[in-house]
Symmetry: C2
Subunit: 733 residues, 2 copies
């Protein structure tokens, strides 16, 4: 059976009850409670008390009798009531002992603030392993260590100490306390939206990103999930969970560390090209993540996605009161890949009726002074535009909110009237509306009104355009989700035993590379289009094998110690007669022995000479964060110089394979370049699926490199194939 | 003699005195003065009076006796004092008459507000031509029509009606009144910087972008020029002026209309590829413009460049109080192409002395809590970093300014102390410092202090990173300016007569295309590496010509009516013997006649068969905005599918030619791909310079297409050449 979401099986075994006990703790022991105002053990208790936390707080500190008016316990074991959660604010070295006490007390949740664990290297990692062992022993689930803490705004459980965290429906997950502070401060100063939960994941020694995701997916108070990620400890589980979550709630993510990444990968072609960040970006997008690169767009995107309906048809109207704003908005929306279609005749006529002659009613709509003396006309235009069936969402740009400042004080009331009417349009039409106003910072009442109706207002054109665009992006994702699940299971697993024999032989011979004919045999057993190449150990063998082959013959050296055959003089092409074959065989063996006298030489592979066609490359490797990934590109310059390649995390579906083929810049070549006939794209996607199947079936495979693969107008030939097995398994033999 | 700035001659004949009289008018006639508060003729006078304009205001309106307490004249001719400038606020139709009156009165400057001219099409264009004629007749220089007006903040001459325009040293030039309003409002609300002048260029019927640029270049009150441009009427003159201006003052520009452009170009290869926006972007950057795409960065970039010294060595240090901000800033700076070098040992030691052990002192520097209880340590770190000789500028990111909010109220004073000390660092070290603070919107006093010292403070990491980056970008431009002027004049003009004969022959024969051998003759006369191809009119000719050629022969059809020779069966390669040549000649002629019975057939061109090598393409065309442009790329897929090409406005220098060659993504192929020897890049740049020379020498040429050009390890061959002449001249014959 295949996984229902086509790509990865849903994560299993996430214990939601344990996370629930942490996030909805009704009693908290603050270990390290303090009277010193600069200490976290003081601040945490003060914040809980001042914030109106309704649960019970138990300060714990052997040296204090009372803290902030509360009785202080010497040890968690001394507390005579049940405790849901321990907030541990003491130094790293003390944590193992405290955790053991918590375990004995029966506390099943802990938030560990101290740094000084895995992030400091080997020594710290040892301490981290120790606390994980203790936690496992006592069945405690941990947030952190090295975390800024967690917040549940609805129960006023604030274990972070950031004041005035606005309540709302966005769950915030970060790997940086300062970025959390940044986002929360931004929300507080500029928005009417807020947060359901915050969690600083810290070192993820126990609870990991994907578990928080699953928790917030299930949480009815959360409508959108905003994440700041620096690195993933288990990218595959994370992706699995993202697939599951993003179809229900939008995930808005900024992944930092783009700049230094990609340099570490090395090795074979595929290795050198599959820079982590490229893989991450592609698979985040495929999994439905709203990927953000500019941090200024992070909170606005989450605000928008949690407030407004999505755009179903990718088509946006722009309403402006000046040509400049209209033109820039059109540029920025085009950059974001959404459509700005011409308006229907009817819509244009309706706009004409209420706008002056010099107004532009195409799209962008420019009212051209038509609102200068009556800004409430904005609401009429907005209604007409959102009532157009061809329009999925509306972006209003320019001066709205500031007509009273720019023109005349009394226009304020007309703006407020328009705000009420526009505010109701979202509900009545089911379509989103976003407003950009250059007067946003002045906080006029009309803009406050729009926010009251859930309409986001931004000062920056760039941010407003991004926000309306992510509504289209998420709408597109959701509407195509069903088709994505249509994975065809085309290949059987019957060939498996024979293939495992091939792999086992290599293991037995202490090779971690399959010989070319072995790799081809394995591919052929999975019905890949590989010619009947066979290994010839002698001249006689070669001549005999060649007799079964139509057309010219190719001989290539077979040796586990010679990777680059041409360099070793180990390839001879276009051989016709027996005598040529014999000469070539001897020559190749002699060349190879001269090239590397210690090389183990198995003979020559005898293949038919392939017809000319377009060379493509298919490769796989194991990505450190995401596991097996596949690469596709057109051979030679395009892959090696222009780096024009497509990546996917494996396994892939038919539709993913088709998209990979379309995605490369040089894809038009496949359609028939310079009058040549179109090439067999179906055969390429078949082969990509075979590779996906093989990588899944044989976890021993570290890397596969099909290079070149020759594509014809009909059919495809794998000319050379290399399969490398995992080193580890080899050592374990 | 060549132009001193290597690329374009400086604009001549800009009458600075006339612009001076407009921008520094000491007396203004407001034609269309009104008592109606909603009329521009009322608002302008009110703004001038309230704003403290020190010159004399003369309201003009035949129906009023007094306006706003001032005597109102029936006609400008009735004013008995000299008038420097007429602000004309009346409808379009009245403008020609009013302008004539102004002329008679001796007024030499006019600002024409009304729309309804060239922007409305043919009718409007007629009216616009009429006012231009009147203005010329009376020697009046005009701003507009269809302009929002002009402002000189220093004389309080505000003819726009935007209130509270802050005074400062940025000159603002826009093609949109709303964008001007946007930028001025942003400056007013968020900055301590302001403007020297504003001008809305309107339709540029008379005074054009480049004239304003020259005026502000000469203006001592202006330190930076901020522009919003939708379209250029004379891109070449604009560029000329930009070259002249940008070496003295930074020009920050947002060019909108990127999205719809590029689609209109058509025709030959070069035509199809040379999308306007691509050309604009490249030549703006080469001319030293700071090109901005995100409007939110526009004013900040101008603010920064007018406030701070540039960065000379491209090397920036980041100082952060949290890992998240540091990592994101590093990503964004890398995106912007600046360097974040490791700090010297000594600098690291100095930082270690004042920061806690867990701080990161590499770069980005992360104080890791080291400033939590004493934010004044920021100033110490900033000093150490800016004193490092390897560091050219500093970006501080995070919480500074909000320590009193985040941690403890009394930290406010330490922050203020740090602000004073950091403020003085810019002067003492001569290096720039920019600060990003998430508390910027709260407007803490310490950030106000930094602004007082001229240090820009932003809330957005993206904007702060962009701003420090443009200081590096402009610094790089200025420091390499001298080397850019090193233009080698390598080619004589002696060949001109013979070349003109070739062109004249085509004109005489009513062709606007040069035949292949003519194009090659022209190229050869300019010492381009073209083989001795000759036209054979008969079989006999062909055989005779072939005898002078070593190696194999190529025959190609010559007809002004057959552009695509291969399609017409008009090419035969690798001919060896006389008999082959004769057969091929007859066959080609027969094919051509069958292909197009009406084609004028001149014979066949006889060429040597070229050695194999790498095919490149060089093309030229006339860009509507910028005049002649040149394109370079590697032939086939890379140009046609991947669109991997480089553009320049002609003429080009040696260094520009070299950069074009390096600039394409596929440039590594030229270095020797897959073990092949490196190719002759010097020969390519020689050929680019020849093409530049030819296009300059023969303004009749509309388009040139050298395709393919074959590059060898030593030398280069132009295999095919096409030259198309301007249609217009052909009609005029």
């Amino acid at each position: 059976m295949r996984f229902p979401n086509n790509v990865l099986p849903f994560t299993k075994g996430i214990d939601m009850m344990a996370l629930n006990q942490i996030f909805k703790a009704e009693s908290i022991a603050v270990v390290g409670a303090s009277k010193d105002e600069t200490k976290r053990g003081y601040q945490a208790i003060r914040t809980l008390m001042n914030g109106g936390y309704e649960g019970t707080i138990f300060p714990v500190n052997p040296r204090e009798a009372r803290v902030l008016g509360l009785k202080c316990y010497k040890n968690v074991l001394d507390i005579d009531e049940p405790v849901d959660l321990a907030l541990i604010t003491t130094p790293a070295q003390t944590v193992p002992y405290i955790l053991a006490d918590c375990g004995k007390k029966g506390i099943q949740g802990a938030v560990i603030i101290a740094g000084g664990f895995g992030e400091l290297g080997t020594e710290g990692k040892k301490l981290e392993d120790e606390i994980v062992a203790t936690a496992t022993q006592f069945n405690i689930r941990m947030v952190g260590p090295n975390t800024s803490g967690i917040i549940n705004t609805w129960s006023n459980m604030n274990l972070v100490g950031i004041r005035n965290v606005p309540k709302g429906d966005i769950a915030l997950i970060t790997q940086s306390g300062n970025i959390a502070l940044h986002i929360i401060t931004e929300a507080m100063l500029k928005s009417q939206k807020g947060f359901s939960y915050y969690v600083g994941v810290g070192n993820e020694a126990d609870i990991k990103f994907h578990e928080y995701l699953e928790y917030f997916r299930n949480d009815p108070a959360t409508k959108a999930i905003l994440m700041y990620v620096e690195g993933l400890r288990d990218g595959r589980k994370f992706l699995q969970q993202v697939y599951k979550t993003s179809r229900e709630k939008p995930i808005i993510l900024l992944k930092s560390g783009r700049s230094s990444t990609g340099q570490k990968s090395a090795g074979s072609h595929t290795g050198a090209l599959a820079g982590i960040s490229e893989v991450a970006k592609t698979c985040f997008e495929r999994a439905g993540i709203i990927n953000i690169e500019n941090p200024a767009e992070l909170f606005p995107a989450a605000e928008t996605l949690s407030s407004l309906p999505t755009i179903k048809n990718d088509r946006i109207a722009i309403l402006a009161d000046g040509g400049g704003h209209a033109t820039i908005a059109a540029d920025l929306l085009s950059d974001n890949g959404v459509q700005i279609p011409e308006l229907s005749k009817k819509t244009q006529e309706r706009l004409r009726e209420i706008l002056p002659n010099n107004a532009s009613v195409v799209n962008p709509v420019d009212v051209a002074g038509g609102t200068d003396s009556n800004p409430s006309i904005f609401a009429d235009c907005a209604r007409i535009l959102l009532e157009d069936r061809n329009i999925g969402g509306l972006l209003i740009v320019g001066l709205f909110g500031g007509y009273s400042i720019r023109f005349a004080e009394q226009l304020r009331f007309m703006e407020e009237d328009a705000a009420h009417r526009m505010g109701k349009l979202v509900k009545s039409t089911g379509k989103p509306l976003i407003l950009q106003s250059l007067y946003n910072a002045v906080k006029p009442h009309s803009l406050e009104l729009l926010r009251y109706y859930g309409i986001p207002v931004y000062e920056s054109l760039d941010i407003a355009c991004k926000c309306i665009s992510v509504l289209a992006q998420y709408g597109r994702y959701i509407s195509t989700y069903e088709t994505k699940t249509n994975f065809e299971l085309r290949w059987g697993v019957r060939a498996k035993k024979e293939c495992n024999d091939i792999i086992n032989l290599a293991r037995y011979e202490k090779r971690n590379i399959l010989l070319e004919h072995e790799a081809k045999d394995l591919l052929r057993l999975h019905r890949a289009p590989v010619s009947q190449d066979r290994l010839a150990k002698t001249e006689e063998d070669a001549v005999r094998i060649a007799r079964d082959i139509d057309g010219d013959i190719v001989l290539k050296i077979v040796s586990p110690d010679i990777l680059h055959k041409s360099e070793a003089g180990g390839v001879r092409l276009k051989l016709k007669h027996d005598i040529e074959i014999r000469d070539a065989f001897r020559e190749i063996i002699a060349n190879a022995m001269a090239f590397d006298p210690t090389a183990r030489i198995k003979g020559c592979i005898v293949s038919p000479m392939m017809e000319d066609g377009l060379e493509v490359i298919i490769g796989t490797k194991i990505d450190k964060q995401f596991g097996p990934v596949i690469m596709f590109g057109i051979g030679g310059i395009l892959v090696e110089v222009v780096k024009d390649v497509a990546f996917r995390v494996l396994p892939i579906s038919r539709s993913a394979a088709n998209k990979m083929i379309k995605e490369i810049k040089s894809a038009p070549i496949l359609e028939g370049f310079r009058g040549k006939p179109p090439l067999d794209k179906r055969a390429i996607s078949d082969l990509l699926l075979v590779v996906s199947e093989i990588i899944e079936a044989y976890p021993d495979i570290e890397e596969m490199d099909l290079n070149p693969v020759i594509v014809h107008p009909q059919g495809i030939d794998v000319v050379d194939a290399r399969i490398i097995l995992k080193e580890k398994t080899y050592d374990e033999l």
